[in-house]
Symmetry: C2
Subunit: 229 residues, 2 copies
């Protein structure tokens, strides 16, 4: 179990807080089981068995199921943030390029599309977890709140950088579209909800950039038909 690049984790990931090999296996197994079958429905015996370890190791390394749930959410949050920011920085470097100022905001939807395609057949793991953790004092709830606040803040930063009129409003709207898209991805009511959300986001963006704050001339937006096959 040496650290080998790009196996289960994304590029640029760093091993969080030096997990022992047993703890790593447990966290991986818990991550898959919690997301696929639900948190409450998965017992610690099954996690230990699936990880090829024992409950002893689980309790020695994590302390209990609640702490393991929080660790699972932290891990998922860390991967999602890394995925999103690296995607945006790579595909829409911005600042001086010929692309429109809203390119980086729209790129978040492309990142989401690929993320859901790879890791999200059952909707947002954080929304699902919130459904199972009604107790506000549960350690996992803090991770969930942080994740949602972080995304909204990230969208706000991008909105400000793009020179959007009313960046607060734009960030709220795009956060709304992100959540709606990832939730409808889990259900089967709209096909390609992320693409729909992106198109609607482009429309919202167009309006927000047509009246920039500091007199920056409105530039041509990226065409909505920009989507790659």
């Amino acid at each position: 179990m040496e650290t080998r690049p790009d196996i289960g984790r994304e590029a640029g990931d760093t091993e969080p807080e030096g997990l022992t090999p047993g703890a790593r296996k447990i966290l991986d197994a818990a991550g898959a089981l919690f997301y696929e079958r639900g948190i409450t429905a998965v017992g610690v015996d099954l996690i230990a068995k699936e990880a090829g370890t024992t409950k002893k190791t689980l309790y020695d390394r994590f302390g209990g199921k609640d702490a393991l749930i929080a660790a699972y959410l932290r891990e998922r949050d860390r991967r999602w943030r890394s995925w999103l920011t690296s995607w945006v920085d790579t595909r829409a470097p911005g600042t001086g390029t010929g692309a429109g100022p809203g390119e980086r905001l729209l790129a978040t939807f492309d990142a989401l599309a690929e993320w859901t395609r790879q890791h999200n057949p059952r909707g947002c793991g954080f929304v699902n977890a919130a459904a199972e953790l009604p107790d506000p004092a549960h350690p996992g709830r803090r991770v969930i709140d942080e994740q949602k606040l972080w995304l909204r803040g990230y969208l706000y930063e991008l909105a400000v950088a793009a020179g959007a009129d009313e960046p607060d409003r734009l960030a709220d709207e795009l956060a709304l579209l992100h959540e709606g898209a990832v939730v409808l991805r889990g259900l089967a009511v709209v096909d390609d909800p992320v693409a729909r959300a992106r198109a609607l986001a482009a429309q919202s963006l167009e309006r927000a950039l047509s009246r920039p704050r500091y007199g920056v001339p409105p530039t041509a937006d990226t065409p909505p038909g920009d989507r790659s096959a």
Copy 2:
């Protein structure tokens, strides 16, 4: 001697009062407990105790926990549909009034706002239930799918009646906003997400109605029954 556990009524049943008093109390208690604490976390013993009945009555009336879950979802679905349609019909009668053609579509967001204020402190009950029912064969899953498809179809009908350009697209977009709003209502990241969603819906609506399909002026109502694609 056991009565038939077919009380989990089929779709098309409009009467909630085929229920015996004991079954009614159980369904009420289960509805509150399932939504507030999560489905898996709530046991049948607690439901029977909270309802002031016994497990015997629960199993005689509903057959088992899975059937009770489906009955709970059906009940919630029925209330939501009734709430939404009656709100729209009352506050936005449409067809011949002086209001705009998209008034009924926007009214769905007002209905949602009031619904969430009254019944939805923890987000969408169906999304939460879907998170806890990963098995596609679970009887509750069918109810969830029907609920989401119904809303999307209802929005589509309203979009067609309003004479929207691309009613499929508009229905998808509004469904997206509905889901995003109700999910973010459960979390605490955006204040008044329903209002944000309504504003964005109004914007989407404005565009969809500015280019009606057959050259009808945007202020005129297109007669319903338009089913061409």
